[in-house]
Symmetry: C2
Subunit: 435 residues, 2 copies
Amino acid sequence: MHSPSKTIRAIAAAVALIASTSAVIAQPALPSPEATDPLKLELMQGFPPPPDKVVRLGSLLRFPNGRWGFHHLRELGPTAQVWRGDEKTAAARENPQEMGALAFDDGKGGKTTLADWQRTTYTDGLLVLHKGAVVYQKHYSGMAAHQPHALFSMSKSFTGLLATMLIKEGQIDPGALVSKYLPELKESAWADATVQQTLDMTTAVAFREDFRDPASGIFQYLFAAGMVPAPAGYGGPKTIPEFLATVKKEGEHGAGFKYKTVDTEVMGWLLQRVTGKSYAALLSERIWSKIGAQDDAYVWVDPIGSQITSVGLSATLRDLGRLGETIRTQGRANGRQVIAPAVIAEIRKGGDADKFKANGQAMRAGYSYHNQWWIPHDRDGTFEMKGLFGQHMHINPAAELVVIKLSTHPAGDTSFTHDIDRRAFAAIAAAVNGH
Amino acid sequence: MHSPSKTIRAIAAAVALIASTSAVIAQPALPSPEATDPLKLELMQGFPPPPDKVVRLGSLLRFPNGRWGFHHLRELGPTAQVWRGDEKTAAARENPQEMGALAFDDGKGGKTTLADWQRTTYTDGLLVLHKGAVVYQKHYSGMAAHQPHALFSMSKSFTGLLATMLIKEGQIDPGALVSKYLPELKESAWADATVQQTLDMTTAVAFREDFRDPASGIFQYLFAAGMVPAPAGYGGPKTIPEFLATVKKEGEHGAGFKYKTVDTEVMGWLLQRVTGKSYAALLSERIWSKIGAQDDAYVWVDPIGSQITSVGLSATLRDLGRLGETIRTQGRANGRQVIAPAVIAEIRKGGDADKFKANGQAMRAGYSYHNQWWIPHDRDGTFEMKGLFGQHMHINPAAELVVIKLSTHPAGDTSFTHDIDRRAFAAIAAAVNGH
């Protein structure tokens, strides 16, 4: 490990305003949402912008730069088109409700409102679909409706969805070893891990995902992916496949859940190897071109063109709503079956709750993680995509509800907003159903 | 000037297989079009591609890498979305004709065919529209219909079109000095140049555009734009605005035409300053969202987000057809006026033929250059966009014809194909009109 550069230290400091996954979640002192509004700050405004208002890839994770950058990611580096296809956009029914004043318990003995929750969690976009109709839709931070927003680890659930489709079609054997498909990983942690263990993140891999520590594996990964410029003198892997081959086993596969971006990256690579198609092409062909998407999505690529399947996607709020609604309605969109119901049932059944608990996920008590989705195992049968800095797709089948929330929270790991986020989703569910 | 790196020498050598603008245009020995087909070579195929099949930004201009890279440019660096808008795609009428066998004089005493011309000029896409209907459309090199292709200097004509629109609306005074709008250029060549001189490239600027010479200004420009990685130790400007401010005057403005990419870049900057909108936003708002475009286009951006308005655009073949047809039909598209007829009339009237001739443009005898368009002043009233490596938009009002040709010719400057290209366009015009 090379000594971390100033950039890396700054990123680590910024991302880790808080990054605790422990049981005690305390909200840190946070910058003012209003004072850090990118329009007010005039980030990247003017031709050219003043030097202190320029956002570059190397300064993207230094808050508040993401408040401009997360909906302009393609302007900072290489990306591949996830084509929307040649079909007509699926028209969105509208049934608008003014929900900003909706009040709910804040879990600390007080009340908050939907407007305040959006503000204090640095929301860039919020979309609520009830029974398929748009009941609430807001964009902030100067993000236009046609601008894709970074999804970070929500990308994992896209990869898991595609993988589940291919498993149900018999193209991938979940019980097979990863190295059957990717012999390049024969010397790595995944040599004797199964596909299912990799999908469920129960592999035993010497990889720490700690944004507080510039020496942790996640930074090596980001350097290799080209998403964070490597410090001067960096001599490690410079592509994702090269990086994955260096990651070693630590412990026994299948013993317990541990959240690891690299597991997804292995799955993304495997999908491409099996289908002979790039991730972007596969996602377009299987999903994006069939849900009536209005705009192309895109995916970050590494220096040799490897598409970043764990944290690399960007998509618009409205198209994420179309996907969420497709999944909520058992995979139907535009009058046809896009995703088999068995795929959605597989995801919703969740993973092993004991293995999940064993990793100390007290905050997400009762959850499991299966095929790259978060499963709360709650009364309404909700299931979720989640991403760093506050990205959410929340699907509530019982309430016939889909909520998409895109954000630029100053703290990367927003564990401490988990409780209030869940309360907000529940309040929305009650409100749209007239409770 | 720093000593050129190996990369730069390789680029210079590759681009300049021939780069003559002199009267005597000899065709160089060229690589086989079939043997350099990117599908056959398996460029960027596999996950990951073998090291010798990887195309990176630094190797893009080393033929045949562009045969993959010119329709995957966004995968190599930062780009901004030129949004297609929220309207429906304008349906393209189809009236297909098999034109490949169409024979015409090759100008050297023999015959060639439309198929052979496409092959020997390394065509990636050819689209022929007659009276608004698609009569011929081919994609090669693995380029899908929805993949934007690099337009190189065709971008200049987009910038010129937007500038002409703003001039006709009174937002820009063509007689004013550039420095009135861009005080940053008060110490540069453009301090006392007019907008019109800049648009017509009759400014007197110490800038050589010689792809054979790594010391010439065009390489400094490409380094600043981030389109060609700068050699180690490069200490020059690293953004486009910074670069333009360093370019000095040489001679007297208005004396004669000299083709200079930097003139366009100044105009692109000026458009953004006057409108307060980015080039991509302006192009989307004024044109791309109003012609029924099917896909987003995109534009390359420099390290501080400056959009490259001279050579930075990529767009799909079919959407270029929609734009060409809009211009051919006096600016009407989708039943409304998108571009004022006066704008198109201004472009078509052309520039000063004597000033054009004075620069030794023997190959293009009779042409002029006006508002960033090439005007042949021929019987049919044709007018054209042109770009490095064989990019063309040819509009023939008399024949009610639009031809778009996108290519990856091994020689950057395809002057020596000028005669055969014009013959091909004329043969197409005759054929579609039954002559």
